[in-house]
């Protein structure tokens, strides 16, 4: 993880000036008061008065400057890192992302990236500023009285050690806390979205019980996590007190003038204010490092397909004949996820793939869509080995409808058009009508998604189907398309799809019975062999 660059260090230096000004302000004020109490000629105080005024002004001004610089640098970094992360994820999508809950996982990736980039503002800048100020204070005190310098140095070391301990505790508890938070989120979402089903069987008490368990786990994790920070917060005043008393003893034995001695006594107190944000710095560092680890793990994966750009060009527009024979596949290269599978998708047919979870239904779809290379067996498209055909062309044959259709935060038009950029508004309306969205009380300019019109689960599934139909791709792959819909909606959505599929082939994977409605053939992967079934 890159924590420092020129911009961040520069911001850190500006921060050091701001923080040092704060310390100097307290110290010179102390000097000034003590000096004034000696009733000197007012004129002799002028230099100190000017200094106090300068430090007082410098602190907010430099802090303002530092914040502008550091935030601008971080935002520039964020822009760069977002672009490169996105580009790096494309070849890994979707095979190297999790199978279910992709949207939540990708949200986590966005947060991780933000945490990692923010580390430069939240960790590097305060660390540079604090360290320089502590060194500066140590040197000044040393020049006045070496023993006082040593005391301030010792205070700094103690604080640094405590911060290190706090960082360790934060790091150790980070994963636990993250898991506990995720569990609370999962349970609350489950219970809230399934409220009616839970009431139907009288399981309200059980449901609040699950929430209580998740909350208890969160409380334990927070308690463990906060200990480091609390310890650091507790050590700081104690260390400051000791340092102040030692400085006072040193000053009492010194032969310097009274105002300078006042300055020595106040120095540790002034520094304490500087050290106060360090527990938060430790926390931000632990978070950034965890985020960095997660991102590296994700990006270290290899693409799941070997891309070919050459090969025979497929005939455009015709519905291909797909055939898998003895195909096996694996997501991680060690554990077989599917097969050997034989599957024959004649042009225009509807084939359902069933079987209990874990038998490899989605894996078969991934092989068909060229998201995942088969390990053995053959996959032919119109008799040609699919692996010898240009990857983009093969992928262009398939339109995929899954159980997590994404609605982009843009107009209805743009939500459809990326599936076929050349489509006219009439094409879009025709696709919407075929997918059963003709009656949607929204025109093509209506904004959808975050901040726009919300869509129900059924409408989202239909939008995804409208995209697939609009794309004109000859094969539809349906991966649990109605998994989150109620029964009546599920049946209606699939009936509409089957009625408007035209000559397209359809391969559908579903663990729910509605999904298999109307299939010409059902392949039960438990049997590893095709069997005839009535439609």
């Amino acid at each position: 993880m890159r924590l420092a660059d020129r911009q961040t260090i520069a911001a850190g230096l500006l921060g050091a000036v701001a923080v040092s000004s704060g310390v100097a302000l307290t110290a010179t004020s102390g000097w000034l008061i003590v000096r004034a109490s000696e009733k000197p000629v007012i004129l002799t105080l002028l230099t100190a008065i000017v200094a106090v005024r300068a430090f007082g002004m410098a602190r907010p001004v430099f802090r303002y400057w530092e914040r502008l610089r550091s935030h601008d640098a971080a935002l520039a970094d964020l822009a760069r890192e977002r672009t490169s992360l996105y580009a790096a994820l494309i070849p890994l999508t979707p095979a190297r992302l999790v199978r279910r809950g992709r949207a939540a996982m990708l949200t986590g990736v966005v947060d991780d990236l933000t945490d990692r980039v923010e580390a430069r503002v939240r960790v590097t800048v305060p660390a540079v500023a604090t360290t320089l100020t502590a060194v500066f204070a140590t040197v000044l005190c040393w020049l006045v009285e070496p023993a006082a310098g040593l005391t301030v140095a010792a205070l700094t070391v103690v604080v640094a050690l405590t911060t290190w301990v706090a960082w360790r505790v934060e790091t150790r508890g980070h994963d636990d806390l993250g898991a506990a938070r995720a569990e609370v989120g999962r349970v609350s979402e489950l219970v809230t979205s399934q409220a009616l089903e839970l009431q139907a069987i009288g399981a309200q008490e059980a449901a609040t019980g699950w929430l209580d368990d998740a909350h208890a786990r969160l409380d334990r994790a927070v308690r463990r996590q906060v200990t480091g920070r609390a310890l650091a917060a507790a050590v700081l005043p104690a260390a400051t007190a000791v340092a102040t008393v030692v400085c006072a003893v040193v000053a009492a034995g010194s032969d310097r003038s009274a105002p300078v001695l006042g300055l020595l006594v106040l120095a540790p107190f002034a520094l304490a204010e500087v050290f106060a944000p360090l527990p938060d710095v430790a926390r931000a560092l632990a978070r950034a490092q965890a985020a960095d680890r997660d991102l590296k793990t994700l990006l270290d994966a290899q693409p799941a397909v070997r891309a070919t750009t050459r090969g025979r060009v497929l005939e455009h527009g015709s519905v291909p004949h797909l055939r898998l024979s003895g195909v096996t596949a694996s997501w991680d290269g060690t554990r077989r996820a599917a097969g050997p599978v034989d599957l024959d998708v004649a042009p225009g047919s509807v084939v359902a793939v069933t079987g209990p979870s874990g038998v490899g239904k989605s894996t078969v779809l991934a092989v068909l869509a060229r998201q995942l290379d088969p390990e053995s067996g053959s996959y032919t498209i119109d008799g040609t080995d699919a692996l010898d055909l240009p990857l983009n062309q093969v992928r262009g044959l398939f339109a995929i409808v899954d159980d997590e259709p994404h609605v982009f935060a843009t107009t209805l038009r743009e939500n459809l058009r990326f599936a076929r950029p050349s489509a006219t508004d009439d094409d879009l309306r025709a696709a919407l009508a075929s997918a059963g969205l003709g009656g949607l009380d929204a025109d093509l300019d209506t904004r959808l998604g975050t901040g726009g019109r919300g869509l129900s689960g059924g409408e989202r599934a239909r939008l995804s189907i409208a995209r697939a139909l609009l794309s004109g791709r000859p094969v539809l792959l349906l991966d649990e398309p109605v998994a989150h819909l109620d029964h009546a909606t599920a049946v209606a959505v699939l009936d509409d799809l089957m009625a408007h599929r035209g000559g397209r082939s359809v391969v559908v994977v579903s663990h729910r019975p509605e999904g298999l409605h109307g299939a010409h053939g059902i392949i039960d992967l438990r049997d590893h062999a095709p069997m005839a079934a009535a439609g």
């Binding site: 109490s37 996105y86 979402e189 489950l190 009616l196 069987i201 609390a230 008393v245 020595l264 995209r467």
Partner: protein
């Protein structure tokens, strides 16, 4: 947006203890901070005057030890208090929603957001903002009182200048409100863009459109950076202005103290105390400003959650029946947001035994069952029904063991023999026995791992175990294989021997088994039932 909503204390009693603790720790910390200023000044004076250091040093050490303990407690109380308040709020919300009929609950999307991110954002509000608020209310006042005792001139200066800070903050806020508002809304759109295209990445890759997004991301991120910086410049500038104002105020105190010291009309000790205390009066106010910003989400979420908790609901039109008989009189129901009633003036009577309800799809059969089960409140008419167990078309199956799924919602301990008996009744006993951990085998989410027929039979077994006198079944055997249908129908028949069973079905086989048959029919504007001799 109110900084503190007293409804929090009223509606969430669990929040009282952590909030009181936070307030107590904050106040004691304030007292300790002010005492420290005195001790520090005494120590400095002792050093300067060459007096004995013992007493002030001991005081200072003692005070800092107390402050250390308070800091430790403060961090813990804040972190745990934040979690306590947000989890109590979430629990209240969820258990309230679980007790309400469907139409009184917010939309599922809204409810999920409020129960997850919404209540979580209350955590920093309670853990950071509220303590800051307490400190801002307590510490400046304490500092002022202490100053009056030490040096009334400084106290006067602080008393006169302290109100400038909130006034100044309000002025800056008013002057920049429109600008900030405008920027925030465009900022929300820009910062949401990356999340949006990330979540849509699989979709974009699916249609081969992902590569084109890379340039768009660079372009939008650039705009986001400029827009954010414009907003931040304003925010940082106003916080710098406030800091400068506070510094000037402290400087005024210092000037008065310095002049009086120089003219000999003041002692060193009160002078030192005054300049150490003066900043303590100003910084808590600035901190509230800083934390207010980060707590904005939490304040908004808290408000909607409290609205939700205190919303009035209609009284249920449901009379508990003592016998097993269900009587519906002129029952009407309209879905929220719809103008046409789905049920209009339905009468129905169902006694012990099996009653089947048939009717075209969309005629309101499922709604009828949900009304009888008390999950919805009718617009008109009355329902007399005993406690019911409803098996919906998508019955709830959780990630958990077979046992956990069987005993879910049974308000009593169910012994293993009973579980096996229920499984036997639906012919699932041999399947479960064949599983490696039989009853303790874990099923996936939504019953993944079982076939559709097995899932349907498992939820029927759960209905058998329930001690509700009324069992409602919504299409219990639609889309099942023939074997499962036969087994399930037999189990339903057995169930009807001891209880009232109402089943919605399209299956003629099940209709043939029924004691009563009701055909629900849409008829012009009214819908009515029709008894068909079974």
């Amino acid at each position: 947006m109110r900084p503190f909503d007293p409804r929090l204390l009223r509606s969430i009693p669990e929040a009282r203890r952590p909030l009181v603790l936070l307030a107590v720790v904050g106040t004691v910390q304030g007292v300790a901070t002010i005492a420290t200023a005195f001790a520090l000044a005494h120590l400095a004076v002792a050093v300067v005057r060459g007096q004995s250091l013992g007493e002030p040093a001991a005081y200072l050490l003692g005070l800092f030890v107390i402050r250390g303990i308070l800091a430790f407690l403060g961090e813990r109380v804040a972190a745990r208090g934040g979690v306590a308040v947000s989890t109590a709020l979430r629990r209240r919300l969820v258990s309230r929603w679980l007790s309400l009929p469907a139409e009184d609950r917010p939309e599922p999307g809204v409810a999920v957001t409020l129960a997850t991110q919404g209540t979580t954002s209350v955590e920093p509000y309670a853990a950071r903002f509220l303590p800051a608020l307490v400190t801002a209310a307590v510490v400046p006042a304490l500092a002022l009182v202490a100053l009056v005792a030490v040096d009334w001139v400084s106290a006067l200066v602080v008393a006169l200048t302290l109100p400038l800070l909130p006034v100044f903050a309000a002025l800056i806020g008013a002057a920049t409100r429109d600008e900030t508002q405008r920027r925030w809304s465009s900022l929300a759109g820009l910062s949401g863009h990356f999340l949006d295209v990330m979540r849509g990445l699989p979709t974009l890759v699916g249609y081969g459109r992902a590569e084109r997004q890379v340039d768009t991301i660079a372009e939008v991120s650039g705009r986001h950076r400029r827009a954010t910086m414009a907003t931040l410049r304003l925010a940082f500038l106003s916080s710098a202005a406030l800091e400068l104002l506070a510094t000037i105020c402290v400087a005024i105190v210092a000037v008065f103290v310095g002049l009086r010291l120089a003219y000999g009309s003041m002692e060193l000790l009160p002078g030192l105390v005054a300049i150490l205390l003066a900043p303590e009066a100003y910084w808590p106010v600035r901190r509230v400003g800083a934390e207010f910003h980060s707590a904005a989400d939490g304040t908004a979420a808290l408000e909607s959650a409290l609205d939700e908790l205190e919303a009035a609901t209609a009284a249920p039109a449901r009379a508990p029946a003592t016998s097993g008989t269900v009587v519906l009189t002129r029952l009407s129901y309209t879905y929220p947001g719809s103008s046409r009633p789905v049920l209009d003036g339905v009468d129905l009577e169902a006694g012990p035994g099996l009653t089947v309800v048939t009717g075209e799809s969309g005629v309101g059969k499922s709604t009828l069952l949900e009304l009888v089960a008390g999950l919805r409140t009718p617009d008109a008419g009355t329902i007399e029904a005993p406690e019911a167990h409803l098996v919906t078309q998508r019955p709830f199956l959780m990630t958990g063991t077979v046992r956990a799924n069987l005993t879910l919602g049974q308000g009593r301990p169910v012994c293993e023999d009973e579980q096996w008996a229920a499984l036997r009744a639906v012919a699932l006993d041999s399947l479960v026995e064949s599983l490696p951990h039989d009853l303790d085998e874990t099923l996936g989410d939504d019953g993944r791992g079982l076939s559709a027929g097995q899932r349907a039979r498992l939820v029927l077994a759960r209905a058998l175990l329930s001690d509700a006198p009324l069992v409602l079944l919504d299409e219990p055997t639609a889309h099942l294989d023939d074997e499962s249908v036969t087994v399930a129908h037999r189990a339903i028949r057995d169930l009807a021997a001891t209880r009232t069973v109402i089943a919605v079905t399209h299956r003629p086989e099940l209709v043939a088994l029924a004691d009563h048959h009701v055909h629900l029919r849409a008829h012009a504007s009214t819908r009515h039932t029709e008894e068909v001799p079974a």
